[in-house]
Symmetry: D2
Subunit: 353 residues, 4 copies
Amino acid sequence: MKTPVQVAVVGASGYSGEELVGRLLNHPGVELTAVTSRQNAGQTVAQIFPRFASHPRARLLRFTEPNPELLAKQAHIIFLALPHGVAAEFAVPLLKLGCVVIDLSADFRLRSAAVYKEFYGHEHPAPDLLAQAVYGLPEFYRERIRGANLVASPGCYPTSILLPVIPLLRAGLVQPRGIIADSLSGVSGAGRKADVDYLFAECNESVRPYGVPKHRHLSEIEQELSVAAGSPVIIQFTPHLIPVNRGILTTLYLAPVAGCSSAAEVAALGERVAACYQQAYADEPFVRVLEGKALPDTKNVVGTNVLELAWRLDARTGRLIVMSAEDNLVKGASGQAVQSMNILGGFPETLGL
Amino acid sequence: MKTPVQVAVVGASGYSGEELVGRLLNHPGVELTAVTSRQNAGQTVAQIFPRFASHPRARLLRFTEPNPELLAKQAHIIFLALPHGVAAEFAVPLLKLGCVVIDLSADFRLRSAAVYKEFYGHEHPAPDLLAQAVYGLPEFYRERIRGANLVASPGCYPTSILLPVIPLLRAGLVQPRGIIADSLSGVSGAGRKADVDYLFAECNESVRPYGVPKHRHLSEIEQELSVAAGSPVIIQFTPHLIPVNRGILTTLYLAPVAGCSSAAEVAALGERVAACYQQAYADEPFVRVLEGKALPDTKNVVGTNVLELAWRLDARTGRLIVMSAEDNLVKGASGQAVQSMNILGGFPETLGL
Amino acid sequence: MKTPVQVAVVGASGYSGEELVGRLLNHPGVELTAVTSRQNAGQTVAQIFPRFASHPRARLLRFTEPNPELLAKQAHIIFLALPHGVAAEFAVPLLKLGCVVIDLSADFRLRSAAVYKEFYGHEHPAPDLLAQAVYGLPEFYRERIRGANLVASPGCYPTSILLPVIPLLRAGLVQPRGIIADSLSGVSGAGRKADVDYLFAECNESVRPYGVPKHRHLSEIEQELSVAAGSPVIIQFTPHLIPVNRGILTTLYLAPVAGCSSAAEVAALGERVAACYQQAYADEPFVRVLEGKALPDTKNVVGTNVLELAWRLDARTGRLIVMSAEDNLVKGASGQAVQSMNILGGFPETLGL
Amino acid sequence: MKTPVQVAVVGASGYSGEELVGRLLNHPGVELTAVTSRQNAGQTVAQIFPRFASHPRARLLRFTEPNPELLAKQAHIIFLALPHGVAAEFAVPLLKLGCVVIDLSADFRLRSAAVYKEFYGHEHPAPDLLAQAVYGLPEFYRERIRGANLVASPGCYPTSILLPVIPLLRAGLVQPRGIIADSLSGVSGAGRKADVDYLFAECNESVRPYGVPKHRHLSEIEQELSVAAGSPVIIQFTPHLIPVNRGILTTLYLAPVAGCSSAAEVAALGERVAACYQQAYADEPFVRVLEGKALPDTKNVVGTNVLELAWRLDARTGRLIVMSAEDNLVKGASGQAVQSMNILGGFPETLGL
């Protein structure tokens, strides 16, 4: 593509949209030519997102009503930061008009329209596109992203689970059965919507599980883990809401295939786990495997596109515990979408991240 | 009144309402016979306020649609925890039906319907009642509260300003001109309403002024300070929103009438200020004048009906600085309303507080 | 015992000590006659804990250096809020002097001095006392507490795990193998000690696991679960630090003994789980089993002695998920200790709680 | 200077030091060649500051014991992030060795050693250097910074007060007498030191004033305001601690020289204030004067080197209210120091910021 690549964001008024707009404004290889939002139409990016107000383009660029034909003239790569269901309605015309679409919603993450209906409660709006969509997890789909015209950027919880677990399943180190993922998410994950449940005074000094036992993100998590395992995987997943703005901390409970009771078994298995992660992530710029006594802490990754992880073998229980931390709005959403854009746009993968 | 006194809360779904319901459920002298809320009608108190779910009455008592005639049969003292404008609409029939009304809204705090219109933007709904309403600040209107049938419980910011300043003005220690009140409030002060501005991710890691320079609470603050000074008082008041659930911290800048520049002047004036507060509050159960190096901290008063204050004379600037801390939902709202109820119900003033 | 019972708190300067002092100051059946703290000796309770400054006794009672002989003259029931190891050093002479001791440390929670050494890293200071100590979990040891002279009040994490799991193990509803407890704790759990790790700016906007995989509390958890199961139980336990002052939220993953895959199996098992909890807790004042769609939230229990729990069966994974919430300083520490005191002092169990 | 310029940070273990290290690691014009910290000597930057662990240099660069002679060989520009008193001890030899020193402490901010002693409680360690030090507020000392070899980077509170007030005093729009600055600071301002007062559970759900009425920062604030006014200025300054990690919000109360009571006066004065700020800051990249109804909010500037401000005239009181927000660790400390470095290093002033 010729540089700067012209890009647009549809549905830019939420937290992911804001993060995306900020990353694109400062990205040296692209020009943000359009941002849309029905509620903010007519106002500048600087007015809606004051933190970008010192950026000259933010003071000039105005939100518009979303219009696919116009967008297709303004930009080559279009990011959709819309609710599921709505995203597909925009993706269809934009793809026909020759745009490359990077969708941050769940609409194109699943390969099966039936599973989509089971988890999202309505018919898939564009099932014909599912086959061509690429799951935008660069660490595992980099080559397919490079040639894609429709990237389905992963969900925040799925990213925090898939990056730690896929290498272990691929290497056959853990059993595909009985996996448990216990996740803690900051409140920005609930979106910028007026809802009493997410008021400050309801979330501060509060911790609570929700969506137990069947959260929607299970569908894409299990799809991708099944691909990695080569057999159907069903997992237990419990999300919790905690009083931070940003960050997801996931603790995973896994059953090693090899023994993990004696000191010798633990040592042998530990070497294999270390080697597995080393092979998977030593060259990945956005996955950090912690060493020594360090454990993940969301404050070390917030604001970055990095997921960090650590693991421990427990000889008492025979389990492998893996813990990961990420920024739900960056590696869990907008940063990862920019990472995909960098790949398909021919930029260095870390540019602007 | 015969014990237990039957009481009701109209509009009990907000934060002040919740605090009030909790205090009344546990008050040994009253029986909470009715709680109303249009949105919660039919549900039990335990369902809407899970923190009270272990209280037997909370599991039985159901929210109802508000109906003055029915309420007058169910209770003798009725608390109104409604928006301004709406509160007056309930007060009128309830008073006619013989109830005692304790109103937590702003509707009956002002003596002048014209000032009400200036600050609240609409005609006063029941101006005839203004003369009979008693401003429910027990430390200064205790005797009038005792015989009242309509108590206008003060606002949260006003309480944090009036208790520190009234004794000084009454004693002629500070000039009525040029008073500045800089206040910091927790987010519960904004109420339990679905509004993007008060989402966790908008308030956490954020501090911001608002309502500058003419906040509605100025009207009652200036009314009461004028009474204390015996002449019209106009003050500067700047509220800020800070990321705590509860608590107001107010810092007041005052100009002493006497000199305050030399060490001798400071010492002499200090004795007079100390004596003034001693006289005003030594016997008050809910005002705590700090001693030594202690400064107010909201965490020391949250959950209690206490306002604590400290003061300093600054020889460099010649000013008196007074700082106060209170729980905006207790001494700043529901606790103070119960304090008034205790007075007019003939209970010990600290009962249930 | 004659009323009021004289009580004392040794080591009252931490968060549990402060909570305990507050509860005892306001308890109608006891008189707090002594509080000790080396660092605060000579100062009043009001000076060290300003939030109690309106209580007359708090302004009079001064911290003293701890002295067993003097304490035994001042009080009949002595609470120890000391670090493990130190607590036993005080328990020994106090018991000899005829006092009843309620210890909030870990020193007398384990029946085996060997397990104590394994988990706490030093020889038990008074192994002879282990046999006579009663584990102060009133819901299961009420009768033994009634006649005890040494109560070992449970840890905060253990309480949040034992109350949900013991009834299920006793009823044989879940397998004793493979239990996972994933816990989230507020920062007060780390104590009031000067440590960079617990500074505001290190904990706020941060979530992190710690003590993985072998936290000290495992020892008492596994001891009590083994008693309930009638066979040795080893569990997986992962604590996390989250940015709230108070509160523990624990999510438990359990394997039902009966099938839990078909709708019929889930329905049948659900009835048994409900009945099990109904039988265990319907008459317990401090355990609340949630109904309907409600899930635990720490904000509903903070400041109370209540543990609330909810459970879900997952037909997809065949697991039982139980979630609990408590205030780590109340039901997880000082409230539970007062509950034990109420039992052995002959008070109503809920008095002052 | 030749590029990349070699730079070092002495005393890099605190919050300002960490922020500075992060900015310098990512600055395209400099090479960070040394970081010192007695407590962290031997460890890598990545080990101490995990958030930088993905930066290759952070994994290689190790903290060393501070040694001026060695530092002078390793770097040309040396940042001192040390406590006051200690900073001067390093500045003296480093300057002799030909280094350029940018000091983040208070040691060289005051022109008078006597004032230093009055506010800091000890003799100035190097009074001879005061004359050559340049106060590193680029908006007002840009030209002097360009040629400086010793820059005294301003304090966090002073920056939040000086940028709003200096233009008004210079233009003669406000009276130099009676200025009040009420400031709210995040807890990182207290530094990364083990102190019970700054524990999470002491600061969360708490707001409190401190240092009333004579905070150390008054000395440099009054010095610089006096320069701007051309006559001695004494101000009232009240800092408060609020539960955010980063950010300072300052509310200033000023008395206009011209009348500000009638609508016409307010309109006329408003134009002059607007023009004054327009002239001062229209071309400044790091000062943002808000327009319309917008008021400052720390969340819009945290993580950036921008100070934003808004102002209101109050016809009721005749006052001018100015409110500012900044990140105490960036524009209030390390970002501003890098801004000075950019100026004296010949870089674009916004590089790396």
